[in-house]
Amino acid sequence: MSNWCMLTLVGTDRPGIVAAIAQALFQGGANLGETSMARLGGNFTVMMMVQHEGDTEALRSLVEPVAASLGLRLHLDPIEAHLHQHRIPDVRISVFGADRAGIVAQVTTALARVGFNILDLQSDVGGSKSTPFYVLHIEGQADDGVEAIEQALAPLRDSGVEVEVQSIETMIG
């Protein structure tokens, strides 16, 4: 019987983090599922679906020494692995503008109100310390179509933020 865990790691970025963790897992007989890793403001963050023969504690003992040696904090959650059930996003939303408090909260609250299901969200801060700007990319499923999303986000546009809503037509062939 094998178990799935969501493995989360956070620490100061340095070269070799992914290699060291992936090697430790591989040597320990663990398997990777879907993962997401990124450098966020000088920190490196890792989220990995990990499959392992043992329980959560066994997995912890496998990763903990490597994580500690790299100065990474480790977090493990038992999960159910629903692989091979990707949902296909049908709407993509891009938002960008001068950075100010609450952009993500306003956008996502407006989206939640119209039942939009976020499948992927990436946001970034660019520009300089004195004039930062914010960029937000969201993909998801809009049961009520693009029009409802456009309407929900219209007030943001009026507040000086650039908002673009595109439908994604996935070509399958």
Binding site: H84, Q85, I88, T170, M171, I172, G173
Partner: protein, 167 residues
């Protein structure tokens, strides 16, 4: 006609190059009918290429005329020995494939193409195509050269901003 089995990645046969059709006969047309039946049995496929069912001749079917949101199209097309003779512009778009289940990704394709082909009776065809239909044809024709959209993936994270339309 029965629905044919679709080869799925990483089946090595999908990398095989297909050969031009020589005989425009009843056998070709029967095979096209089976290919179309297989396309329609799949989940919302707007195209299919012969090598996806293990038939390694240069035949593709494309039909983008039945989308919920209509796009410019030439209807149901059977393209035998297709050749793209001109390309124009490029666009990033999302693709999936009957041969690559449970995965979609962004691919850059020419925005508009000029296309020459034969129909299943050997008659010459010529089209000017754009957008979604041009994308579908380019995707299907890749199969004839042993290529999958996986060979052309671009990062989702660094997706291009699309030019805005200021009305």
């Amino acid at each position: 006609m029965a629905v044919l089995e679709i080869l799925t990645y990483p089946d090595e046969r999908l990398k095989q190059e297909s050969v031009p059709v020589a005989d425009f006969d009843d056998d070709l047309r029967a095979r096209v009918a089976a290919l179309e039946e297989t396309r329609l049995a799949g989940p919302g496929a707007v195209g299919i290429a012969a090598p996806q069912v293990g038939w390694f001749e240069r035949v593709v079917i494309v039909d983008v005329s039945k989308l919920k949101k209509p796009v410019p199209n030439h209807g149901y097309l059977v393209l035998v020995n297709p050749e793209i003779t001109a390309w124009e512009g490029f666009a990033v778009g999302r693709e999936g494939c009957l041969s690559v289940p449970d995965f979609t990704g962004n691919v850059i394709r020419a925005e508009a193409i000029r296309l020459e082909a034969r129909d299943p009776w050997g008659q010459a065809l010529e089209f000017q195509m754009q957008g979604f239909e041009a994308r579908a044809v380019q995707h299907e024709m890749d199969h004839l050269d042993g290529l999958l959209f996986l060979d052309r993936l671009v990062s989702r994270r660094n997706d291009l901003f699309r030019r805005k339309n200021h009305q």
